[in-house]
């Protein structure tokens, strides 16, 4: 038993580290003799930045299929890059292209399925273009009609029709080799250009373009199934790029590597494990499990931090640039704060927080990624600048801390009400944890909000404009200040603070997501579209918790327990 408690923490951590190393250093063998992943490292330009083809393939599939791989007709998962190659070569194939048989277009709306003459395919909802190619005229007609409507007048069917039309457009652009800008400039002052244009140029004007010619040969080799030739051509093309653009190529390699490792996905798995360990530690083997959870969190947060750094390196931007990265960053902040709490209190509450918030925020981020490239370029006005970078970082930490205080409040309420485990000491400790985190949240949300004002003043001369996003941030600051003043005035004690902190979750969710929904959400979809539904569900759950927290304490299981009074 003694040896077990001593060795468990490092054994757990080492096992996890080993698992990570396996994923990182031993990529799965690709099916077939062609080195598709090497092809995926080729840099191209799309969406305003240089990225490897692998990223383009994954993001495009994510947009049209809502996942980064596809399932072939033999029910086997295939990498996105194979789909991209099939699409890019679809016009070279003599007899029916395989790309037309890949079931990748996600279509769920029943009216739209009917229009296309498709049978509902519950579970997958994915269709191949070959299954509805005879109905494209009808789709085109509907899309043209919907396009002419004022966006606010469109109903769900119109929106879905337009969505599918856009997805098909993406497909066609790729198939016709008009996207991406695949051919690098031949000389200074030239621009990247689409493969089809470069090829056309060569044919018409007889210009020499070795890169375009090489890319064309790679595609032909793929279309003809000549694996050896394909691999040789890809290797020599990458050599060519490497010689011509020594800075670009390694970055594209790195991004492809980053895509393959999927560090945020790995982190979310590990965070779930952390949360489980923390929960079990309250029932049995408290000490060793607790320490295992702590060190596992440390390991995970290292990966998480590396991944954040990797994104910053690829994009050359501060960590928070859009909703997706804000979720990743909030998770990171929560986990770090959980670690600090755990280091101070050693009661596994910090571990639980780290695990739950880390996993949850990464799941939210994963769902936010469906829009495509999460490393998208930003409008000029959002260009990097010291104030903006510090503003988003501070504000996101403030959001994270407010959430964390709310989750602590949740732990206090649920543990006290439903279990006998919350003794007097733990009750007080949780109270002072909430207090500390709320102080932290006040500081960062205030500073972050003001820094945002300073940035706005620097950029267009208006420190504060009362727009919805600013107001959301202001409400968070006010709410945190309210909790602190209620505490200082003795209006609330531990439990009251817990209840207020849980309400803070609603306030933060509102600022983070709610204000983004005001413009479109309430108009075009009515109240029940996806994101609005989840927001409302979250608000409902938090209100229920507040209700539970307001149940008089004499009914709490922990308070009834004699140990609570006597301690």
């Amino acid at each position: 038993m003694n040896g077990f408690s001593r060795h468990l923490p490092w054994m757990v951590t080492a096992t996890a580290a080993l698992g990570l190393a396996l994923v990182v250093f031993f990529p799965p063998e690709p099916p077939g003799p062609m080195k598709l992943e090497e092809f995926g490292k080729i840099p191209v330009v799309d969406g305003g930045r240089i990225k490897p083809l692998d990223t383009l393939a994954r993001n495009t599939l994510l947009v049209i299929s809502n996942r980064q791989y596809f399932v072939d007709n033999k029910d086997e998962s295939q990498p996105a890059i194979r789909w991209l190659l099939d699409v890019m070569t679809s016009l070279m194939q003599q007899k029916g292209s395989p790309a037309e048989q890949h079931k990748v277009f996600r279509i769920e709306h029943s009216q739209l399925l009917e229009l296309l003459g498709l049978k509902p395919r519950p579970g997958s909802w994915r269709y191949a273009i070959g299954e509805f190619s005879d109905k494209l005229d009808e789709l085109d007609k509907e899309a043209n009609r919907a396009q002419k409507l004022d966006p606010k007048q469109r109903d769900l069917f119109d929106t879905k029709v337009l969505e599918l039309a856009q997805h098909l457009q993406l497909y066609i652009e790729l198939a016709k080799l008009r996207t991406p800008l695949a051919v690098p400039p031949e000389s200074q002052g030239q621009e990247w250009q689409p493969l089809i244009m470069a090829m056309f140029d060569m044919k018409q004007n007889g210009t020499q373009n070795p890169a375009a010619a090489a890319l064309g040969k790679i595609l032909i080799a793929y279309a003809n199934g000549e694996a050896g030739e394909f691999n040789r051509l890809v290797a020599s093309y990458r050599q060519l790029i490497n010689d011509r653009m020594p800075q670009v190529a390694p970055k594209a390699d790195f991004e492809a590597f980053f895509n393959r490792v999927e560090p945020f996905y790995l982190c979310s798995l590990l965070y779930v494990l952390v949360a489980l360990l923390a929960c079990v530690s309250w029932v049995a083997y408290a000490e060793p499990l607790n320490r295992s959870a702590f060190w596992l969190t440390v390991l995970t947060v290292i990966v998480h931090t590396w991944a954040l750094g990797a994104r910053m390196y690829i994009q050359g931007r501060p960590p928070v640039t859009n909703l997706y990265s804000s979720a990743v960053f909030i998770g990171w902040g929560c986990v770090l704060m959980g670690l600090v709490l755990e280091a101070i209190y050693k009661n596994s509450v910090g571990n639980l927080l780290a695990g739950v918030t880390g996993a949850l925020t990464l799941v939210i981020a994963h769902n936010l990624a469906a829009g495509g490239d999460t490393l998208e370029m930003m409008q000029a006005v959002l260009d990097t600048n010291f104030w903006l970078a510090t503003h988003v970082t501070c504000v996101t930490i403030g959001y994270a801390a407010t959430f964390l205080a709310g989750f602590l409040g949740m732990v206090l309420i649920l543990r006290g009400l439903l279990t006998p485990t919350l003794d007097r000491e733990a009750y007080k400790t949780l109270g002072s944890m909430i207090y500390g985190i709320v102080c932290f949240a006040t500081f960062f949300s205030f500073t972050g909000t003001v820094l945002g004002g300073i940035w706005a003043d620097q950029s267009w001369g208006r420190f504060w404009g009362w727009d919805p996003k600013e107001n959301g941030a202001l409400i968070i600051v006010l709410w945190n200040a309210l909790i602190l003043h209620a505490r200082w005035g003795g209006m609330v004690q531990q439990r009251g603070m817990a209840v207020l902190a849980v309400f803070g979750n609603i306030v933060t969710a509102w600022s983070w997501f709610g204000v983004n929904m005001l413009g479109v959400g309430l108009h075009s979809y009515g109240f029940m579209s996806g994101a609005v539904f989840w927001l409302l569900a979250f608000v409902g759950s938090q209100l229920a918790l507040i209700g539970l927290g307001l149940i008089p304490m004499r009914h709490w299981r922990s308070v009834v327990n004699p140990s609570f009074a006597s301690a």
Binding site: V45, G47, G48, R49, P180, L181, E191, W192, I344, M377, Q379, A380, V381, D383, N385, Y427, G431, S432, Y435, G436, T442, F443, F446, T447, V450, G453, I454, D457, Q458, S459, W460, G461, R462, F463, W464, G465, W466, D467, P468, N471, G472, L474, I475, L478, W479, A481, L482, H485, A486, W488, G489, G490, M491, Q493, L518, G519, V520, L522, G526, M553
Partner: protein
């Protein structure tokens, strides 16, 4: 419950012990200030503040940001319609009064000052709180100063053009202009406030009487197909035909934040008579700067005593003693997209009074500060033929910076002291 309470990490602010009995006058002040200084009032005011900010956000679903700011935040009292809390598909009548932003802010200020007079003695232990609160006072005052005195305007300059005035985009005016000689125009303007209600406008400085027939807060420009005829159709210089149509105010939550294009229908009459010189519908759509010079209508005219007068509805114009000449506007996109990456304007600033004549480069986050005004790169004409600068005068612009430093420092001191104390206790 009472037996559960432990001493909060900070002593309740009201519980500073007083060793000796205060003199009578002090006690009277104490009694008067006590309710004003209470933390309960602070918390209540926070709740009210949160509510008004929330309501002011929701109201932006239906109304423009500036009218909301005026009604909800820069006001003492606001009638909040119940409708804003419900989906717009439901129709909910009724409204209720609520303290506006300035009232709540003022009360918070009183509460804060009273608390300091009453409770807080100058001491190192309280220095953090003092700093935070002083900083917050600066912040609140700065919002008041901004609300009262800040002016935001725009300056549109085409390449090669020299401009000496700004457009205050939150205000409009009706201008009657007639040329005096080739260099100068004579102009009389009617402020927008007078145009909002139908009625007759007479003034000795006006060469004519102006009767307002109809005012539109916002209007849209609808393309008219070939062959169609009807009222309110106007032809641009390049022959396109448009109709001016009444339209509801642009909403604060709209992602593309368009400005309202006010329009007014007026009848011009010879001074003191019923003789009509012309009836016009003038809209901001006809003001070239409103459309970034993309749509150009010929000016609308009437004749008076053999002289030609132009009628124009435009943003309130402020003439400056200096002028800007746009030498070159530059604009670059991210490769392969039309997402702007950067824009910049090289301008020549000339001021005869102050003998200034220099070239300045204005670009993202690098404004020009001159004569109490700040010029920011804000936009550009769609064909890159000119630049739009945001011109701001805010006497309180420095205050938020000061406030931010004070509050952040105060929080570090205050929470830091707690943290050190707390960690020491845990170590012990």
């Amino acid at each position: 419950m009472a037996n559960l309470s432990i001493a909060p990490p900070s002593q309740p602010a009201g519980a500073v012990p007083r060793s000796e009995k205060p003199p009578r006058r002090e006690r009277a002040i104490h009694q008067l200030l006590a309710p004003l200084a209470s933390l309960r009032l602070t918390v209540v005011l926070f709740v009210l503040a949160i509510f008004i900010v929330l309501a002011g956000t929701l109201a932006q679903i239906d109304a423009g940001i500036w009218s909301v700011v005026k009604q909800y935040f820069r006001s003492a009292l606001v009638w909040i319609p119940l409708q804003i809390f419900f989906p717009r598909t439901m129709s909910v009548p009724g409204s209720f009064p609520f303290p506006g932003g300035w009232l709540i802010g003022g009360l918070l200020l009183i509460n804060l000052l009273a608390a300091h007079v009453l409770r807080f003695k100058l001491s190192w232990r309280r220095s953090g709180i003092l700093l935070i609160h002083a900083g917050l006072i600066v912040m609140m005052v700065s919002e008041l100063v901004t609300g009262l005195f800040a002016v935001e305007a725009k300056m549109s300059i085409a390449q090669g053009e020299t401009v000496n005035f700004t457009d205050e985009s939150q205000h409009i005016e009706l201008a009657l202009t007639h040329p005096v000689d080739s260099q100068t125009d004579d102009e009389v303007v009617i402020p927008g406030a007078l145009l909002r209600k139908p009625g007759l406008i007479q003034n000795e400085q006006l060469p004519v009487d102006v009767e307002v027939l109809e005012f539109m807060k916002n209007s849209s420009l609808a393309r008219v197909p070939e062959g169609e005829t009807g009222a309110d159709i106007y032809t641009t210089k390049d022959g396109s035909r448009y109709r001016i149509v009444d339209r509801s105010e642009e909403k604060g939550v709209d992602p593309d934040q368009r400005e309202d294009a006010a329009a007014v229908r007026i009848r011009i009459r010879k001074k003191g008579t019923d003789q009509v010189l012309g009836t016009f519908l003038v809209s901001l759509w006809m003001y070239p700067n409103f459309t970034f010079r993309q749509i150009q209508f010929p000016p609308q005219h009437f004749q008076l005593d053999g002289q030609e007068y132009a009628v124009e509805l435009r943003f309130r114009r402020e003439y400056k003693p200096y002028r800007l000449h746009l030498i070159k506007f530059d604009h670059s996109n991210y490769i392969g997209t039309d997402k702007p990456r950067n824009f910049s304007s090289r301008v020549r600033l000339q001021d005869d009074e102050r003998h200034e004549d220099r070239e300045v480069l204005i670009y993202m986050n690098e404004p020009l500060r001159y004569a109490g005004h700040t010029f920011y790169q804000s936009g550009y004409f769609p064909d890159d033929s000119g630049t739009v600068l945001q011109v701001v005068r805010n006497p309180g612009w420095l205050m938020p910076y000061v406030s931010c430093v004070m509050v952040a420092l105060g929080m570090i001191v205050h929470f830091g002291m707690h943290l050190v104390k707390f960690l020491r206790r845990r170590m012990a």
